[in-house]
């Protein structure tokens, strides 16, 4: 249950009525247009003459319909459909049915579909959950296609490619977009307080200092009306994994076989989040906003540590948004990157068309469309270096942050690991300071190692 974007999950649920309507409406197919068949997907090195297993460029097989399953909010769904239209325009004999679901039912449907032998041909995959599927013979090995046409994986963000490649070098899917964590700030609140905007010189100490200055009881009734900083505590991605890395710790050991959370540096990172809430009191008690959602979006927090996917949400809320890199911790700068990608079903009837769609999604042409939404950081290096940084104010920060980003851990048993760990942290560290981070980790670390051992 604990994965990428908890914010998305809740927004999805809250907008269930809308989502249900969309489910009914969005399952329609993107029919092939009458555009000339000669156009090829951009950005691929053509290798003339190769036809096995897939010729570079346009699709050469018989007319086929493939299903592309994704999760997402309405804006993301529209963006993905626009991308798919570009693909079918270039490959008129391929029809793509885009099917969508909210985060929870997406995985239920996918697993029952895979178990019943009726899974989508291409489906979205969350980085951390990848290994659970890679190791279960349900994904198509794309290596033959990549080798046949000399597809260069180096054109995509290296961290992101890692999530879709096994330790043995088998490529299961291609990354589609990136989720990167940064520091959002409300320009109006900083201006009103006469405080300089956050920049890349910031440290943990500076964050606490400014956080205190901006945490205020504006009407003098004894309760805080404006918080210095807001973040989500319920998943490692939103803030605390970055703190762990900034403190010099890690989630797993280098070989991925055991938990590294019991290192003092790792505990220090988690402890920092507890201190921000309960000692420095610059981040609200998580219970306060558990029901109502993002305090920054509501205009009652001056800063927020969270992911790139929130940019359009904050802009739509009318926040005068500024974006800065995460402050440096005792061990320097660090942030979290988590890719979403497209994988192909092992028993698809249309492997070539499915590969072409996955490849297209990572192409510069598709990436420019995905990036226009502002919610996703492109995965294609060319776009990351050229058009993305200037595409909106703050995009440059996300692009630059990739240089010190750590990949959100991905391993077999991720969900179970995260549930056990996060239940303990929520109950005893973040929701109430019952234990120090080190004590909480000590009480679950053995169980976490057991889960990791079970997945080997």
């Amino acid at each position: 249950m604990l994965t990428t974007s908890q914010a998305r999950r809740w927004r999805g649920l809250a907008a269930l009525a809308a989502a249900t309507a969309l489910l009914a409406g969005a399952c329609g197919s993107t029919t092939p247009t009458t555009t000339p068949a000669a156009s090829t997907p951009a950005g691929q090195s053509a290798e003339p003459g190769t036809s096995e297993p897939a010729a570079s460029g346009g699709y050469t097989g018989p007319p086929v319909t493939i299903e592309y399953a994704i999760w997402g909010d309405p804006a993301e769904i529209n963006s993905q459909k626009a991308v798919v239209e570009g693909f079918t325009a270039a490959n008129p004999t391929i029809t793509v049915d885009v099917t969508v679901a909210d985060w929870d039912s997406y995985w239920d449907k996918l697993q029952t579909g895979l178990a019943g032998g009726a899974a989508p041909d291409v489906f979205a995959m969350d980085g951390p959950l990848g290994p659970d599927y890679q190791t279960r013979d349900v994904l198509l090995d794309l290596t033959p296609y990549i080798e046949a046409e000399g597809y260069d994986l180096g054109q995509l963000d290296d961290n992101a490619v890692k999530d879709f490649t096994t330790r043995d070098g088998v490529v299961f899917g291609l990354p589609r977009d990136l989720n990167v964590i940064a520091l959002f700030y409300n320009r109006d609140m900083f201006d009103a307080a006469g405080i300089a905007y956050p920049d890349d010189t910031w440290t943990w100490e500076k964050l606490v200092e400014v956080g205190k200055q901006l945490t205020r009881d504006t009407d003098g009734d004894g309760t805080i009306d404006q918080w210095g900083l807001y973040t989500e505590t319920t998943d490692m991605e939103n803030a605390w994994s970055s703190f762990v890395w900034q403190a010099g710790g890690d989630i797993l050991t280098e070989d991925g076989a055991t938990s590294a959370l019991d290192r003092p540096e790792s505990a220090a990172g988690i402890q920092f989040l507890q201190d921000l809430i309960w000692k420095e009191k610059v981040v609200p008690d998580p219970a306060i906003f558990a029901e109502t959602g993002d305090a920054f979006e509501q205009g009652v927090a001056a800063m927020e540590i969270n992911g790139s996917w929130l940019v359009p949400t904050h802009e739509a809320a009318g926040i005068k948004l500024g974006i800065a890199p995460l402050p440096a911790g005792p061990a320097g700068k660090a942030t979290s990157v988590n890719p979403t990608g497209a994988v192909v079903y092992a028993n698809t009837d249309a492997p070539e068309a499915s590969w072409l769609l996955a490849r297209y999604l990572a192409s510069p042409e598709a990436q420019e469309k995905i990036m226009a939404l502002k919610a996703s950081v492109p995965v294609n290096k060319e776009i990351l270096a050229t058009s993305y940084p200037a595409s909106f104010d703050g995009a440059q920060v996300f692009a630059d942050s990739l240089a010190f980003a750590h990949l959100k851990p991905a391993f077999v048993g991720y969900n179970e690991f995260a549930t056990i760990l996060q239940t303990e942290l929520d109950e005893n560290v973040f929701n109430a300071p019952n234990k120090t981070a080190a004590d909480a980790i000590a009480s679950v670390n053995e169980e976490l190692n057991g889960i990791l051992a079970g997945g080997q």
């Binding site: 908890q6 239940t423 929520d426």
Partner: protein
């Protein structure tokens, strides 16, 4: 009907028994492991929590729910003007989706802007964190479930009440029975078939509680305090790739409910009076 039962119920139940003896991730071929899953359940802290929470949920929500719906049925069993409108109002929760109900209650329980804390605040009671508080989480879910289950039981009680002939009450009055006497000696005995029926439905339903927990147990909630048997089954089967383990838990749940049902039906002769 029998055929339908065989295919739709007995088939899956037996299949689940078979799956519970395997290690199966839903995606690859299952592997026979004998009773390993059952042996592991006994030591699984999270499973024991789920068992304890579900028992607590049932022990509170069934009796309180039945008592409240009986009271409501008595109140609605009046020949006053506009009674059908009043009844309709009370039956609204029945036709509202669990998700919508969950969202509204999430707002009611909100620690800062929630209705409940504002009401209590007006009475001078300090604000509580309700669903995020490990102590209050389960009672909060129970309150919501009772509210939601109220109309279904009330309809059955109301039908039972209206089936009691007025003559009986007249005869009881002639014999000198007061309000309380009429309730104890006429209403309650003649309502026992309805009580039996609502009791069995509530009991089964409460052991299978899932929707309310699923909706209210968003990330960050103390799931240790609210995880139920069916949630545990869902979590293992669909999140942790442990369908065999989940099936074993399903069978434990099935056996618990079956034993309770057997005891319940055996007790029928002693307290249920058919006219």
């Amino acid at each position: 009907m029998v055929l339908g039962l065989a295919f739709l119920s007995a088939g899956p139940i037996l299949a689940t028994l078979g799956i519970s003896l395997t290690s199966w991730d839903l995606l690859r071929a299952p592997e026979l492991v004998g009773l390993d899953n059952y042996a592991r359940l006994v030591d699984d802290k999270r499973f024991l929590m789920a068992l304890r929470n579900t028992t607590f949920y049932t022990a509170v929500s069934v009796p309180v729910g039945l008592a409240l719906s009986l009271g409501l049925a008595l109140a609605l069993n009046q020949a006053i003007r506009g009674i059908s409108w009043i009844r309709t109002m009370y039956f609204l929760p029945l036709v509202t989706s669990a998700i919508a109900v969950g969202l509204v209650w999430a707002w009611i329980y909100s620690p800062t802007s929630g209705l409940l804390n504002q009401l209590l605040g007006a009475l001078g009671v300090p604000a509580q964190k309700w669903i995020t508080d490990p102590f209050w989480a389960m009672p909060s879910i129970i309150a919501m479930s009772i509210w939601q289950g109220l109309p279904a039981n009330t309809i059955i009680f109301l039908a039972g009440l209206q089936a009691i002939p007025g003559d009986y009450y007249d005869a009881a009055s002639v014999d000198g029975a007061g309000r309380g006497g009429r309730f104890r000696h006429v209403t309650l005995p003649l309502l026992t078939p309805s009580l039996f029926f609502t009791g069995i439905l509530s009991l089964i339903g409460s052991f299978q509680v899932f929707d309310q927990v699923f909706v209210l147990s968003r990330p960050g909630r103390p799931t240790d305090a609210t995880i139920t048997m069916v949630y545990f089954i869902y979590e293992n089967g669909f999140r942790n790739f442990k369908m065999g383990y989940a099936s074993a838990a399903s069978w434990v749940l099935f056996m618990i409910v079956a034993v309770l049902m057997f005891a319940y039906f055996s007790s029928q002769r002693r307290w249920v009076h058919y006219q």
